[in-house]
């Protein structure tokens, strides 16, 4: 495969910051997204020197952002188990509804289901994140959903 060199961090940041911020806003809401944004790119900066090539950088930073969002959600649950405000079902982010349901799926199907129906990512980006083809991502998502349906009905 052709060598793709790691671009200057500035370019990587410029190219991905708006999409990553949008992703975090969708997952966490505007206010919490701001802290998560900073944490995401600081983590990326920490890992950047170890990158061997410049491929899949978008999927890489989306994975970091998703992990930061999940960590943030976990921390908040741990910090205020009682005082948590009741959340109306329709205000819960979509991924939260899928998270526990998808737990029992095989890893690839779970990732595809959560990214597609929870995060609303298009299949080409899911394929990037899973290092697979677009068709394989589509199949993983639909067989994951079939499996869930069988389990739930």
């Amino acid at each position: 495969m052709e060598a793709v060199s790691v671009p200057p961090f500035e370019r990587f940041y410029e190219e991905n910051r708006n999409a990553v911020f949008g992703h975090l806003v969708r997952l966490l809401g505007r206010e919490r997204a701001e802290d998560a944004f900073q944490e995401t790119f600081l983590r990326a900066l920490r890992g950047y020197a170890r990158l061997q090539h410049g491929r899949h950088l978008k999927a890489w930073v989306f994975t970091i952002a998703t992990r930061v969002a999940v960590d943030d959600a976990r921390k908040r649950r741990a910090e205020s188990p009682v005082a948590r405000e009741p959340v109306h079902e329709e205000e819960r982010p979509a991924y939260a509804q899928l998270e526990h349901l998808a737990d029992e799926l095989p890893e690839k199907e779970r990732a595809a289901v959560v990214l597609r129906y929870g995060y609303d990512l298009p299949y080409d980006q899911i394929a990037d994140a899973l290092h697979s083809s677009e068709e394989a991502a589509r199949q993983a998502a639909s067989s994951g959903v079939r499996r869930l349906r069988r389990r739930l009905t």
């Binding site: 790691v6 671009p7 200057p8 961090f9 500035e10 370019r11 940041y13 910051r17 708006n18 999409a19 911020f21 949008g22 806003v25 701001e34 944004f37 900073q38 790119f41 600081l42 900066l45 920490r46 950047y48 020197a49 990158l51």
Partner: protein, 187 residues
């Protein structure tokens, strides 16, 4: 599409600089000789460029010092302040460590000699060569001046031809003229 708010962008750039994880921080300074891209590493000032193409400069900095190159204004405060004072005429010497990593040994020796040419004076390529102990290397010295990574602070504008003509300048002859006029140099 969601756009990152300006304040959040600034906050991240400050945090990145404070984290100590950057190989290079850079910013753009507005000066009477046009916008200058200025860059520092942990070791010191590593670049002053007249080139307005930031992408190209960032690429070059990444090749020379590592890929974690980010526009982060805070670490450049000292450099920008001294440049401002220089252009106002209130500073005659720069007090800034420089990072000449990646340059050949001869280049470094020449650039160190160059740094000693005083404000408002000029020297010639031949005499600078002589000061490095290689009096016949005037042409090589000319090449090193042309590729000087830190013009103005390493004052290659103070080096002229043996007949007193300005000869050349990486940033263009009109800038060399302007810098020499600012210093009231006798050429």
């Amino acid at each position: 599409m969601t756009v990152v708010p300006e304040t959040l962008d600034q906050r991240f750039r400050d945090a990145a600089a404070a984290s100590g994880l950057l190989d290079v921080s850079y910013d753009v300074a507005d000066t009477p000789v046009g916008p200058l891209l200025v860059a520092v590493t942990d070791a010191g000032l590593c670049r002053i460029s007249f080139d307005a193409d930031r992408d190209r400069e960032a690429e070059a900095l990444a090749r020379g010092f590592g890929a974690r190159v980010l526009r982060a204004p805070r670490p450049l405060d000292r450099v920008k302040r001294q440049l401002e004072e220089y252009f106002e005429g209130s500073r005659r010497e720069f007090d800034l460590p420089v990072d000449l990593r990646g340059r050949s040994e001869f280049s470094r020796i020449v650039l160190e000699q160059l740094a000693r040419v005083p404000y408002g004076e000029v020297t010639t390529y031949g005499s600078l060569a002589a000061r490095t102990g290689r009096p016949k290397a005037a042409r090589a010295v000319g090449t090193i001046m042309n590729r000087n990574p830190i013009p103005i602070v390493l004052p290659c504008h103070r080096v002229v031809g043996s007949t007193g003509s300005l000869v050349g300048y990486g940033g263009g002859l009109e800038r060399k003229r302007l810098l020499l006029d600012l210093e009231e140099a006798p050429v």
